[in-house]
Amino acid sequence: MTTAQPSLPCAPWEEAADGPDADAPLVLAAPGPHGPVVHAANPAALTGGTKRGMRLTDARALTPELQVVEADLRGDAEALRRLTLWSRRWCPWSASDGADGLVLDTTGSDHLWGGEAAILADMEMRLADLGQDARLAVAPTHGAAWALARYGDLRENCGPSALKARLAMLPVAALRLDGATLLTLRRLGIKRIGDLMLIPRATLERRFGRDGRALMTPLRRLDQMTGDLPEPIVSPAPPQRFRVVHRLAEPVMDPQPLLPEPLGMLCAEMADAGQGLRGIRLELYRTDGTASRFETGCSQASRDPAHLLNLMARHFESLDAGFGFDTLSLEALRPEPLSAAQIRLDGGVQSDVALATLIDRLAVRLGPQAVQLPDPRESHLPERADAWSPAVRRADLLAPGGLGGGGMIAASRERPVRLLHAPERIEVLYAVPEGPPVRFKWRRKPYVIRRHQGPERIAPEWWRARPGTRLRDYYKVEVEAGERYWLFREGILGDGRGDTPDWFLHGLFA
């Protein structure tokens, strides 16, 4: 017995609709063979005449105020995969069905939920809690459930005895056929499945059986639907979970010396499965019923007990033991494939492993925000082009040639070796109409400019900046004593974006 559930891609467009206006017509666009097509549409767009699969230009012609968001097909597939695993709360055998459906084999599980009607009601409620608007059906075969969920009534439950009569009423589109076959059937005047059932099998086989699609012909689909041809559901195995629970005979006050044994078991288990962990969770259960949890992440998949032990050591510094701990539990978070690594002939460790280990150790003690890597972006604005971001998830960039100019655009002029966190306003003591000021004061100390180079004009990024943001004219200047600074003037006089422009100091040259 099977249940199907379509209309998945609603979730992303509902999220997108949160931003502007839920009542405005909105569609998700996906690339088609002849330009973008409508992948999904919200109710406002559907009432305007937009249909799934329509060209985007046609949809725009129907509804000029249509808002378009790019569809995230890969994200949808991942969400469906997770939903498939989640749906095993009702029955142990589930699989995704196409790009927008789930199929569950509820045979033998429905009585645990109080019958088929009850299981359907429970599914609908829980999926609605997830924000999914699901259409559900129960039928004896996969094909029939697929058809009833999409073309049948609400929450339809069709028993084996009434199956053929019910299917005969459905349109031929419910047969899961491709577009060309459906077109042929329509040209032949066959509209309902009942029309197809009346045609002798030999005739159908002769007309449709020769084009190489052995299981996609109307006859095969009909047989699968009625149960004459088996259609097994392949249920993907859930990802392996790695967890070791260590129960102690006596409560201990200091569990740290006991940790290596379960950790070694966990790492051995992961090594057998060819997996490494990106995070580890340690749970310590006290005799009085409270538990202390500790989680830490790794910048690279690892299954090295010594390294993991090192990362967790800090947790034990401020641990309240109470009356002692009686259970330890270790769980691997975010497991990833990790093949066995060859150790070097001189016994040293690989440099990328050594770096990932260093990043983990620094991040555990100083906080993940404190360990930073350059995050170069394609921008001319210095503070955007030379931004920093946490290194914990990006350690692979440290491999040789990893940051090789990715996203970095070559500066047209020299750049300073140090950039201040934020440009600091300088007080102009003696200005000239052209070029940088002659005398200025920075951090309460006066300077006289001796030489200068510039300007280098950097315009604001209009697609991101607030309206009224002014351009910057950067100068490299050298003052009397020899210090070299990077100054800029924000705006020019008469640009209509404020009065006399201010001067700022942004960087220090070597």
Binding site: L358, L373, P416, R450
Partner: protein, 229 residues
């Protein structure tokens, strides 16, 4: 010491005192790093740059593109440590990791955590792993330390720019090697030659740069505006 030389063999641990008001200390450290790493086999790993909060606040953060212009294009792993003790711990951790090509530490002023013992620990770790180490002391006062080379750096007038007489040229610093185990302390005008991966040291003589005969003529902006107004 000769009047013109390049620094032949800088030690593995160098302490540099500078001001947060200029980039001279950073410039000299980067020049020395370029010279050292060019001669080290496989010196292509990332640089660990540990900054204490006050040093980053006063002197800003290193700028990857500006540093890449000097010829150092390895990635920088920056540590924003909250306190000097955290920064020193991070430097010690970094100096144990031989995959790094260099470690630069920045500690503002003279915190209590940075005492003789702390510098000794850093020097020992640097010697064990072979990772060269530069300790920048912006706005610091020279106290006890085991660093074999201790510099005091300030900016000085740059060389002439061959393309534009009014523009600053190649950076030069007044570098005072006030303690060293390799010879007599001396003061130089230092410069960086990125093409040859070399730090040039010239005796600090009060000579003037070319084309700068008249001091007033060197400041055309001042004079022209003063005359016009």
């Amino acid at each position: 010491m000769t009047s013109s030389a390049s620094d032949p063999a800088p030690p593995a641990f160098t302490e540099t005192f500078c001001s947060t008001r200029d980039g001279a200390g950073t410039g000299l450290v980067l020049a020395q790093m370029d010279a050292v790493l060019a001669r080290m086999p496989g010196g292509k790993g990332p640089v660990l740059w540990v900054q204490e909060a006050r040093a980053a606040q006063e002197g800003g953060v290193p700028c990857q593109r500006g540093i890449a212009e000097l010829g150092l294009n390895m990635p920088i792993l920056r540590i924003a440590a909250r306190s000097a003790a955290d920064a020193l711990w991070a430097m010690e951790e970094g100096l144990e990791c031989a995959a790094l090509s260099a470690v630069v530490g920045e500690i503002w002023g003279n915190p209590k955590a940075l005492d003789f013992t702390a510098t000794k620990r850093l020097a020992l770790r640097s010697r064990q792993s072979g990772v060269p180490f530069w300790l920048l002391r912006p706005d610091g006062v020279a106290d006890l330390s085991v660093a074999p080379d201790r510099w005091r750096v300030s900016a000085t007038r740059s060389s002439d720019n061959p393309w534009d007489a009014r523009a600053p040229g190649r950076a030069r610093w007044l570098a005072d090697l006030f303690r060293t185990r390799r010879g007599a302390p001396a003061t130089w005008v230092a410069g960086h030659d990125p093409a040859a991966h070399r730090v040039d040291l010239v005796a600090a003589l009060p000579d003037r740069a070319l084309g700068e005969g008249d001091d007033r003529a060197a400041q055309p902006a001042l004079r022209s505006v003063g005359g016009g107004g």
